[in-house]
């Protein structure tokens, strides 16, 4: 009922607005929609300019490379178009490519799901009030720092600190997950699904490090939910569980979409990603620029399709005020 009422009312309001702001006779030709479109373009002008100046040309060059034979000489590059030979080479000739592509895609799905669930859970916890919350929040900000830029490479090479971590790990002998895993596998209950779960549990540090940004995004979304909503729900007799699904989830669903896409992309650009290693290797070691950019484009394509499908699915349940 309320929705129908709003839909009827809206055009009227718009008319009133045009009269007040633009004045009735000043410029008859420009409609409100046209004006708004121009204002919109002005707002996104920085992006359009930046994209044209700094992105289009490199992208175009890389695409040209992927459909041509690149020869490197002392004077620089020279390219000669050879159609889609590089692409068919990736799919049909190269022995590793298909395997790695399938592996990475599957890993991407599993890891992204785990990361999203984990960060959602942690954000919900961190949004509650408890003693030492500031400290815990600061701790959960650390992954954002530790997973960025120059620090990642240094950390993974540092055997000194790694050795120390191993010493600590071996000194605490019992591992809960391995005990449970043993029990389950001796009773023959552990199927493929459970194994994936155990795999994720064992990698919890990696997941925690990867979910720093997502946690903060969720947190800032959670903080924009007005408290009055929860109060109203509580008076109406909602339980906490119902509130989670009826209020919290719809209100942060738009950020959920961002997080999902960011998680996929983050995983896809990770430096220990097999696919990127292969692309880099082809580029640096074999100097086969055409082939490597063709592989990069296929990989982009897969990720874009993946993002497209999942964001279509998710945006159906995303709730906006509009």
């Amino acid at each position: 009922m309320a929705k129908v009422f709003k839909a009827e009312k809206r055009p009227k309001e718009k008319k009133v607005r045009t009269n007040i702001i633009a004045g009735p006779k000043k410029d008859k030709k420009k409609t409100l929609a046209g004006k708004k479109a121009i204002q919109g373009y002005l707002f996104i002008l920085p992006f359009i300019l930046g994209f044209l100046f700094f992105m289009v040309k490199p992208l175009f060059q890389s695409f040209i490379m992927s459909i041509s034979e690149v020869t490197v000489s002392n004077e620089g590059f020279s390219t000669s178009l050879n159609g889609f030979a590089n692409y068919s080479k990736a799919f049909t000739i190269d022995p590793q490519f298909n395997q790695i592509l399938a592996d990475e895609s599957w890993k991407m799905v599993i890891n992204s799901l785990a990361t999203i669930v984990f960060s959602m859970f942690v954000a919900l916890l961190l949004n509650q009030k408890f003693k030492g919350r500031a400290f815990v929040r600061a701790v959960f900000f650390l992954p954002v720092i530790l997973s960025s830029g120059v620090i990642v490479g240094l950390d993974s090479n540092n055997s000194l600190v790694q050795g120390m971590a191993n010493a600590i790990e071996s000194s605490s002998s019992a591992s809960v997950t391995s005990v449970i895993e043993n029990i389950l596998s001796t009773t023959k209950m552990a199927g493929g699904f459970l194994e994936t779960i155990f795999d994720i549990v064992n990698k919890v540090y990696d997941i925690a490090i990867a979910s720093g940004i997502q946690i903060i995004i969720f947190l800032s979304a959670l903080q924009t939910i007005p408290k009055s909503m929860y109060e109203a729900a509580e008076i109406e007799g909602c339980t906490k569980w119902e509130m989670l699904w009826k209020i919290t989830m719809p209100m942060i669903s738009s950020m959920f979409l961002v997080n999902w896409i960011y998680t996929i992309i983050d995983f896809f650009m990770k430096s220990d990603n097999q696919m990127l290693t292969k692309i880099k290797q082809e580029m640096v070691v074999s100097m086969d620029y055409g082939f490597s950019s063709a592989m990069a484009w296929i990989y982009f394509g897969v990720v874009m399709v993946f993002i497209g499908i999942s964001s279509l699915l998710i945006s159906r349940v995303v709730y906006y005020y509009e």
């Binding site: 009133v16 607005r17 702001i21 708004k36 479109a37 204002q39 919109g40 373009y41 707002f43 996104i44 920085p46 992006f47 930046g50 994209f51 700094f54 992105m55 490199p58 992208l59 942690v122 509650q128 408890f130 500031a134 815990v136 929040r137 701790v139 959960f140 954002v144 720092i145 960025s148 830029g149 120059v150 240094l154 950390d155 540092n158 000194l160 600190v161 120390m164 010493a167 600590i168 540090y205 490090i209 903060i216 995004i217 947190l219 800032s220 979304a221 903080q223 924009t224 007005p226 009055s228 979409l257 896409i261 960011y262 992309i265 896809f268 880099k280 874009m304 906006y320 005020y321 509009e322």
Partner: protein
């Protein structure tokens, strides 16, 4: 004191009896949840903190402790000598100020332009909007490494529609100066800027239209609606975007190495710390021999030195989070 407590306890049991044991059940459940939450938080915090703690213990060890296999975590001989050496090698004070200046200005510029763009995408309808937004996604997806060579050439022979060469007679060589980087930041093409646009756009889409319309009816133009109605509401998301961009700028070695090669920054200093140490020792200045352990010790000290200011920044910025919590009750 004890009387008051006794009275309270009696009161509790009385109320419990009145509620048919519901109060007791609820209190127990509450405490159980609290304990569970504490355990979880403790475990997760430990998981994240442990590598940092290890680094701290490495950094206060005397170098001979590193090679002693009986020492695991707690050092036997404390020494701050290595920390002083790392500070000296990284040229810490000047690198810190440079990093602060660059990160602050770059992240502010990025935040401003991304906020404008995000707002434009969220609140206006114009032709090709979907296509342009797909371009934003494209910008997030493409790793900067793939376009680096092309960008290098672009800035080596920089020109906008031949204007520069018309004036100077030659194209401008912008490599080694910070200008291209600022230009890129204005154009939202900096590090992970697509993500900020997306985030901010999603946030603004969540603000009810009625708020905007009310502002229009009250006589606000587009700009004043943006500044006076929308921006104050967006404080949490803008804070987190600023934090991300500051942190990523602070630790970034890719763009910094490409555009700001001459300026001493913490990230680039940290990257070359091992080489600096090698040169320093080769000159016969140090007291130690070159060894993997020693280099890694200095490296972990360097990492700590880079990370510490960021944690301090977060502790300050976190207030913005908490404050905005009380402010954003005005919706609907």
């Amino acid at each position: 004191m004890s009387k008051v407590k006794m009275a309270k306890r009696n009161d509790f049991w009385q109320r419990n009896r009145l509620s048919d044991g519901y109060l007791l059940k609820k209190t127990i459940l509450n405490y159980a949840l609290k304990i569970l939450r504490f355990l979880l938080m403790f475990g997760l915090c430990f998981l994240i903190l442990q590598p940092i703690l290890n680094k701290i213990s490495v950094s206060i060890m005397a170098t001979k402790d590193i090679f002693d296999s009986t020492i695991n975590v707690v050092p036997r001989n404390f020494s701050t000598e290595n920390i002083r050496l790392a500070v000296y090698l990284m040229d810490y004070p000047s690198a810190l100020t440079n990093s602060l200046l660059i990160s602050l200005s770059i992240s502010l510029v990025q935040l401003i332009s991304c906020t404008l763009v995000g707002y434009g995408f969220a609140r206006f309808n114009f032709p090709f909007k979907k296509f342009l937004f797909a371009c934003v996604i494209l910008v997030i997806v493409i790793p900067p490494q793939t376009i680096s060579t092309s960008l290098y050439l672009h800035f080596r022979y920089f020109d906008i529609f031949g204007i520069v060469s018309l004036i100077n007679g030659d194209t401008a060589n912008l490599r080694g100066s910070a200008i291209p980087y600022y230009l890129m930041s204005v154009g939202c093409m900096g590090l992970k800027n697509g993500l900020y646009i997306y985030l901010i756009r999603q946030f603004f889409r969540g603000i009810p239209k009625e708020l905007e319309e009310a502002a229009y009816v009250d006589g606000c133009g587009t700009l004043s609606t943006f500044f006076r109605i929308m921006l104050p509401d967006a404080k949490p998301i803008l804070t987190s975007c600023f934090l991300f961009s500051f942190v990523w700028q602070w630790t970034d070695n890719f763009y910094s190495g490409m555009f700001l090669g001459k300026t001493k920054l913490l990230s680039t200093e940290l990257e070359s710390l091992a080489d600096t140490l090698g040169n320093y020792l080769a000159d016969g200045k140090g007291t130690q021999q070159v060894s993997v352990g020693y280099v890694q010790q200095i490296n972990s000290i360097g990492t700590l030195l880079v990370v510490t200011p960021l944690i301090l920044l977060y502790l300050i910025a976190q207030r913005g989070f908490v404050e905005s919590l009380s402010q954003t009750g005005i919706k609907m």
